[in-house]
Amino acid sequence: MILGVSYDLLRWEEKNLIEEAKKIGHNIIPLFTKDFYSFFGVSSSLNLDTDVIIQRNTSHSRALLTSLIFEGYNYKVVNDSTTLIRCENKLYTLALLNKHGINVPRTFVSFSREKTLELADKLGYPVVVKPIEGSWGRMIAKANDKDILMSLLEYQEYTTSQYRYAYFVQEFVNKPNRDIRIFVIGDEAPVGIYRINEKNWKTNTALGARAEPLKIDDELQDLALKVKEVIGGFFLGIDIFVDKERGYIVNEVNGVPEYKNTVRVNNFNVSQYLIKKISEWVRK
């Protein structure tokens, strides 16, 4: 198999993917986005002899745009542009999951400060304010009361986000210092981690949460595969809360997931597994 790896930053994951593919005997074409271009209307081909391209750009906009370009020239891409849009926009993710009966956090989206404050009273403090697009826990903030919420809304309005006047507010799910990250690879959900943080309510490993191996029960596996059916894609990182009363609640879905800590604590070779599943898919 000839495998393209589209990237803009060589993190551990991109290097590991390239190393593992070479070990298995696949040919690798590294596609550094900053050196890459397309010329629609002039060239009918990108002159890339690849069976499939793995999308690994760290920048969400570069990931989406390069997936769109590859698809415009009929390349297979993991993940495709539609999946990336569905994952990147938290409201899109939430709306799709909700439509298909998957448990999501109680969330409101409003378009004025007044309505936001009124709805926050109904939801009950603390509440969590999130940017509609974002990652690594960036700009996610907890408001313990109305005063703090007012300040957070004002801060959001002075950002450059195109969604700065859309207020995405969620309940603060009382999770036990941890949440779940489970990976879907092809048609399986073989591995995941608990992300544990005793010092910070945010459980992103990018913010210092520690990883422990996840015990995957049937319910969790079925849920992960159902999320994949709804969101699409081939390789997903799904973030799930466990609520004492409501059970599993799907919080977010990541379309270019990082997995260094998952590999480390589970002794599970995610890159190799992903390449194997892609190879099976391409041969079909």
């Binding site: 990237y7 803009d8 930053l9 060589l10 390239i18 590294p30 550094f32 900053k34 050196d35 760290t58 920048s59 969400h60 906009s61 697009e133 974002g134 990652s135 690594w136 960036r138 450059t160 990018a206 990182g237 990541n254 379309g255 270019v256 997931p257 990082e258």
Partner: protein, 56 residues
């Protein structure tokens, strides 16, 4: 090994033969440098800072 010039301090930067484009090199002066293709030869430039759309 290719030798380039650090765009920050001007001292030499050794680029390993197996470096890929986009590889990050921590230079002795403290600069984070990114390997790039400068008209067919490997060179380094100041690495991009974390962007607001970076993530998973």
């Amino acid at each position: 090994m290719v030798t380039a010039k650090c765009p920050i301090c001007g001292n030499p930067v050794e680029i390993p033969d197996d470096a890929l484009l986009g590889e990050i090199i921590e230079h002795e002066c403290g600069a984070q440098l990114e390997v790039f293709n400068d008209n067919g030869r490997l060179s380094v430039r100041l690495a991009e800072q974390v962007g607001e759309d970076w993530g998973e």
